[in-house]
């Protein structure tokens, strides 16, 4: 009986020992886990977390795909728009050039006219005839004393030919007519037998023609306004 009691005591002591050992280990693990929770997460928890992130990633990836597609579409749109606007721009530039709303450059001739001292001064009609002849010869741009000849240009005598107005601006001698176009065509249109320049020279005016490979003609300064055109 005595021996049995000792065995019993020792057994329970050992049991307690084992129990408390494991308990302490567990306490330690739980304590540590509070600090570094994520690092020691259970496999299943990590799996769940991973699955969540995967779902999120998939969603965001799909969104990204969508957005990229949209961007691609927009880009295409923009490109076609660009193409269209480039064509329109080109057309506009061309039109402006033809209308005389831009500065232009090119080969051509410069005609300088100065009235003779003893004869009647050069009139607007003379200038009109010259401009007309130049236009006939294929002039692409003409200016008289830097007044660009455009659609609405007027060349008129004011006060019985005492001075000339072009584009509503009074111009003074010498008259410098700049023309862009084929040099020989232009020259032959106003010189030679029956040419206006020859005629003026015989009348006693001074007229010179210079060829230039780089003539700059400034744009029309006024505004093109329409009142009756629809």
């Amino acid at each position: 009986m005595r021996k049995g009691k000792i065995t019993m005591t020792i057994t329970i002591g050992i049991a307690c020992f084992a129990l408390v050992t494991v308990m302490m280990m567990q306490f330690k693990v739980v304590n540590e886990t509070d600090i570094t929770e994520i690092e020691n997460m259970q496999e299943s928890e990590l799996k769940t977390e991973l699955a969540n992130w995967k779902t999120k990633y998939d969603e965001i990836d799909a969104q990204y795909e969508d957005t990229m597609q949209k961007i691609e579409e927009y880009k295409n749109d923009e490109e076609s728009n660009n193409e269209a606007s480039r064509l329109v721009q080109e057309e506009l530039e061309q039109t402006n050039t033809l209308l005389g709303l831009t500065d232009v450059e090119g080969e051509g001739i410069v005609v300088t006219l100065k009235s003779g001292e003893d004869v009647a001064a050069i009139s607007a009609d003379d200038l009109l005839i010259i401009v007309n002849a130049l236009k006939f010869a294929g002039a692409e741009a003409i200016s008289i004393n830097d007044e660009r000849i455009v659609n609405t240009t007027d060349i008129v005598n004011i006060l019985d030919g005492s001075f000339i107005k072009v584009n509503g601006q009074r111009i003074l001698e010498p008259y410098v007519i700049k023309v862009i176009g084929n040099q020989s065509h232009l020259e032959s249109a106003i010189t030679g037998n029956g040419g206006k320049i020859d005629e003026l020279q015989t009348l006693g005016h001074t007229a010179t023609i210079e060829k230039d490979n780089k003539i700059t003609i400034t744009k029309y300064n006024g505004e093109v306004e329409t009142k009756y055109l629809n």
């Binding site: 009691k5 065995t7 019993m8 005591t9 020792i10 057994t11 329970i12 002591g13 050992i14 049991a15 307690c16 020992f17 084992a18 129990l19 408390v20 050992t21 494991v22 308990m23 302490m24 280990m25 567990q26 306490f27 330690k28 693990v29 739980v30 540590e32 886990t33 020691n40 997460m41 259970q42 496999e43 299943s44």
Partner: protein
Amino acid sequence: MIFIAILIGCILGAILGLNAPMISYTYSSYLAIAIIAALDSVFGGIASVIKKNFDLKIFVSGFFGNAILAILLTILGQKLNVDIYLAAIVVFVWRMFMNLGAIRRYYVEKWTDMIKNKATKEKKEENKEKVNEKS
């Protein structure tokens, strides 16, 4: 006597447990259920000592058997995706309370008996004194 053994076991266990290496968190749920099972066994053992029907074989087999069974059930529960360890905890804790109740009742009775004995003894002595006075 038995409490000294428990105390020594607890102190030594605490020292060893605090110096033991860390175990992975993955196994801590199994360890926890094993601890509950072992705790139940220890209380059961103490209760049986008090009831004077302590059996070494039953105690040792119960101590290890319950712990291992609890761990296995927990693993099974995880594989089946059922929280079986909850049932194990309920059973073990319930039994723990029963055993603790038995231990408490034993000591309360013992204490009550002691007071009663003391009281009867004093009465007897008083009676004796009275008898002596009379004589």
